[in-house]
């Protein structure tokens, strides 16, 4: 059965634009059902703000079932809030108690400039994928899908890493603002599969170096993995580092061109 929470205080980051001076704004939620999702609470607040003639708080969100990776909030200093293995949109108010004060901020990372209020740009993640996060397989001419048997454990491990939703929580949680978990999840997905072998080391080199153009360096804190809504293992980073090191000798053509 549903219960009602009372007297929730929200401290929400507001910022007019990328160059604006940010500030915390305090809002009271006198009562809210514990059936409400966290984002529905923000919806209700926004409707109230509009009715009062004020501008609604900007935040990114879309599917509201934890799969599109659009939502992105630091809640009490934790990426996607206190619930393990879940995105912000999967968080419900029953996780909180009456009288709580909740601090809501955008992702904080140099590579993710704030667009407005709680919304940031995560465009560098797309640049990493564009540089090599794919298997070159133009449309048409693919061999029969059952031609290459793939051991189930390999396929399962690839899937574990392919589950990344690209939300950027790993970057936001990292004290260095590194994107190692994001990059290594994609690399591990593709590099484990037989179809991915032809471009394995080229891919590793290109993605890692594009990543380094935008993001900080990994020092194995492991915050990324514990913030990850899909609980992707930090093992992926070890696989990435191994493949990257090998790429420096295996990509000899690339080396010889320099």
């Amino acid at each position: 059965m549903s219960h009602t929470l009372t007297n929730i205080t929200l401290k929400i980051w507001r910022q007019d634009g990328p160059d604006g001076q940010g500030r915390f704004e305090t809002h009271q939620i006198p009562q809210i059902s514990d059936e409400a999702s966290f984002l529905e609470m923000l919806d209700i607040l926004n409707e109230r703000l509009i009715e009062e003639g004020r501008e609604a708080i900007v935040f990114d969100h879309d599917c509201r079932e934890g799969i599109c990776g659009t939502c992105s909030l630091m809640i009490d200093g934790q990426a996607h809030g206190p619930q393990q293995g879940a995105a912000t949109c999967q968080l419900h108010m029953r996780t909180f108690s009456s009288g709580d004060e909740i601090v809501i901020e955008p992702w904080r990372a140099t590579a993710f400039p704030i667009i407005k209020d709680l919304m940031v740009s995560r465009a560098p993640l797309d640049r990493i994928v564009e540089s090599g996060g794919f298997i070159t397989a133009p449309t048409g001419g693919a061999p029969d899908a059952n031609l290459i048997p793939i051991p189930k454990p390999v396929s399962d491990a690839a899937m574990d890493n392919a589950a990344c939703i690209g939300c950027g929580a790993c970057v936001a949680a990292c004290p260095n603002g590194a994107a190692s978990l994001f990059t290594s999840a994609k690399l591990t997905h593709l590099n484990l599969l037989p179809q991915g072998q032809a471009e394995r080391y080229k891919r590793a080199e290109a993605m890692v170096e594009t990543m380094e153009d935008h993001f900080g360096s990994c020092t194995n804190h492991g915050e990324c993995s514990s913030a990850c809504p899909k609980e992707i293992s930090i093992d992926a980073i070890a696989i990435m580092n191994t493949d990257y090191r090998k790429s420096k000798t295996k990509n000899r053509r690339a080396l010889s061109r320099r």
């Binding site: 059965m1 549903s2 634009g17 059902s33 059936e35 409400a36 999702s37 984002l39 529905e40 919806d43 209700i44 926004n46 409707e47 703000l49 009715e51 003639g53 501008e55 609604a56 900007v58 990114d60 879309d62 599917c63 079932e65 934890g66 799969i67 599109c68 990776g69 659009t70 879940a86 999967q90 419900h92 667009i115 407005k116 919304m119 995560r122 465009a123 993640l125 797309d126 564009e130 996060g133 794919f134 298997i135 070159t136 397989a137 133009p138 449309t139 048409g140 693919a142 061999p143 029969d144 899908a145 059952n146 290459i148 051991p151 189930k152 396929s155 899937m159 392919a162 589950a163 599969l193």
Partner: protein, 640 residues
């Protein structure tokens, strides 16, 4: 009737139509391809796969998404799987069988030749996606695994855990990203399409609005592809993502594109019921749960005991009772209506009495909790996260919700709308699912259109334009459309009323759900057709949008989308009103058998209704494309 609804279905036997089309089509020479610019709006399965394929072929491509990244499109949320006639299980599947099942599942209201092509290319899709590295589920021997789905008699569904849509979309997104990285496709993100521009009888480009800056500008092209999804959010509450909207398709309709069968909407039976008035969206629980869960309601509407305490003989397992041969696996439209009947009879369960039980107690007793956990663990966790109830201990509560829209922009065999040069793909078009879509067929259609149909069917159109100058963005028609768009958005800001866009969306959704949802009647639809325009008038007078139009403003974005849902909602009801029969997702209470089953009228309604914009949303013009069946014979669907 003034729309040209020539379907351009090729001559010849059904099984040869597509191959002879491909063999006979006009081609564009590789060195000429770069002279053609193609705009693709939307980056879901259809849009991303089309843009990537065009880029690979050498066209100049511009891809538009209103998300921050192409990977966010709502194709990503599809859970169950993708059908393909591979017959890997040796259980008797074939292209013909998939074709037949899809035509029958669509209740004989789809275009045969399109469906056959879909079944043909389904096998190529699986090959293509595996080559791209999509981690489909596998057997221990390393070959691909399949499961049965949605009442099919064969196992033809390929899946990647409960995240098939995600993995397929990421595959297409990665192919698109490769083309972006190579410079073959230019990506425009956080840019929304707000209009289509036609010059001299052909589509000359689009007008967009930059969501970050409010800048309105034009983009000229030789051809435009709309892959902008469906309109399920017209109901307000649906399983669609929050931003899904009909604006691109609706604006194209207002510029002359026929809108086909808007009343064909799919209400999915297994969603988590609404918990409260403020709820923003509904969540789907995979249809696969119906393989082991039993659906029931208490016989007594005043039942107050906990589910487990209700004795067996006081429960109504209504699907098993009414449809003994299909039981809990009856198709989506049939199951949804049965749930509605139970809830309407006061037998609903849960605090708001708005759901039915999906009970796993028998399955847990029979198979043990571990087997159930292995099969559905992630879904059970998801359910518990949302409702706070543990489905291992008490039955799930489910209720139908808007999920998919079969209707959409009318397209011919080449996926071209009634505006030359404007194409529509994926859920945005109407072509392949008829009046009801089978499970695991949406992913198939999106990828079919984008990878394997459009790259062929766009060439004949483009080849006609070779070396002919096309109007650029300075043409007065672009300037006029931009001005119109600026005025439109400024207009919302200036109303200065009292109510939010969400308020109106919620009220609109209630009307459409009540009168144009699972059960429709002449009286109800006429009521809706009076109420929607009245509410729209109120919207125009009493809307309040705060903020400005020159910076990011989600309230303003929403207002424009809701405005278009109003006009589309009227069309949905009109379409439902004149279709005096029940077929697939369209159920008219006047047209049912004595046992409450759908009654189709093939003599009068074996046609596509393609609506033409008249300038007045309440008086659209009806056009018809007759559906001629060469191979399949009409039959009554029965699941008893």
């Amino acid at each position: 009737m003034t729309l040209n609804l020539d379907s351009k279905v090729p001559e010849g036997p059904m099984a040869d139509k597509w191959s002879s089309y491909v063999a006979d089509q006009k081609l564009v020479n590789p060195s000429n391809k770069r002279k053609f610019k193609i705009i693709v709006v939307g980056t879901g399965l259809a849009g991303a796969s089309a843009a990537a394929s065009f880029g690979e072929l050498g066209y100049e491509v511009e891809s538009f998404t209103f998300h921050d990244s192409p990977r966010r499109a709502h194709s990503i949320a599809a859970q169950g799987g993708i059908n393909a006639a591979k017959n890997y299980q040796g259980d008797g599947d074939s292209i013909h069988r998939l074709f037949y099942d899809t035509v029958k599942g669509g209740d004989f209201r789809s275009r045969e030749a399109n469906v056959h092509r879909l079944a043909e290319v389904s096998v190529d899709i699986i090959d293509q996606m595996v080559a791209q590295g999509v981690p489909f589920a596998r057997e221990y021997g390393g070959l691909l695994d399949n499961r049965s789905f949605g009442g099919a008699q064969v196992s033809r569904t390929f899946y990647a855990r409960g995240q098939t849509g995600q993995q397929l979309l990421l595959g297409a997104y990665q192919q698109l990203s490769r083309q972006i990285g190579l410079g073959n496709v230019k990506l425009w993100n956080r840019i929304e399409m707000v209009d289509v521009v036609n010059i001299d009888g052909r589509c000359a480009g689009i007008v967009t609005r930059d969501l970050m800056t409010g800048e309105v500008r034009s983009h000229a092209a030789h051809a435009v592809v709309l892959a902008t999804g469906g309109y399920g959010n017209a109901f307000y509450l649906s399983t669609n993502a929050m931003a899904c909207n009909a604006t691109a398709a609706w604006r194209a309709h207002r510029r002359g594109a026929g809108f086909a069968n808007p009343s064909y909407t799919q209400i999915h039976p297994t969603c988590i019921p609404q918990a409260d008035e403020f709820q923003s969206k509904l969540t789907l629980m995979s249809e696969s749960l119906r393989n082991d869960g039993r659906i029931w309601v208490p016989k007594d509407p005043d039942e107050t005991r906990k589910a487990a305490d209700v004795p067996e003989d006081e429960r109504d397992y209504y699907l098993e009772r009414i449809y003994p041969s299909f039981g809990n696996l009856a198709p989506r439209d049939v199951s949804s209506r049965a749930a509605k009947r139970a809830v309407d009879a006061g037998q609903g369960v849960g605090p708001l009495k708005n759901g039915v039980y999906l009970d796993f107690a028998d399955a847990i007793n029979r198979l043990g909790v571990n087997v159930i956990k292995e099969r559905y663990g992630n879904l059970f966790d998801m359910y518990e996260r949302i409702t706070g109830e543990n489905p291992y201990e008490m039955p799930m509560r489910i209720y139908p919700a808007s999920h998919y829209t079969m209707g959409g922009l009318w397209v011919d065999y080449e996926l071209q709308t009634t505006i030359p040069g404007l194409f529509a793909a994926g859920e945005a078009n109407f072509s392949d699912h008829g009046a009801n879509r089978l499970g695991a067929s949406a992913l198939m259609q999106g990828l079919s259109d984008g990878y394997f149909v459009l790259p062929y069917t766009i060439a004949p159109y483009l080849s006609e334009l070779l070396n002919k100058p096309i109007p650029d963005e300075t043409h007065e028609a672009f300037a006029a459309a931009e001005e119109e768009a600026r005025d439109r958005y400024q207009g919302y800001l200036e109303i200065g009323g009292t109510k939010t866009p969400d308020h109106f969306h919620r009220e609109l959704g209630k009307i459409i759900w009540d009168y144009c949802g699972m059960d429709r009647s002449q009286v109800g639809l006429e009521k809706a057709l009076a109420e929607i325009p009245a509410l729209h008038e109120e919207f125009k007078k009493d809307l309040r949008v705060t903020g400005d139009g020159a910076s990011l403003n989600q309230t303003l974005e929403k207002a424009a989308r809701v405005d278009d849902f109003f006009e589309l909602g009227i069309l949905m009801c009109k379409d439902a009103l004149i279709r005096e029969e029940s077929c697939g997702g369209h159920f008219r209470s006047e047209h049912q058998t004595d046992e409450g089953e759908a009654m189709r009228n093939d003599d009068d309604f074996a046609h596509v209704t393609a609506w033409e914009w008249s300038g007045d949303p309440s008086n659209p013009i009806e056009n018809r494309e007759p559906l001629v069946y060469e191979v399949v014979e009409f039959a009554t669907r029965s699941y008893k």
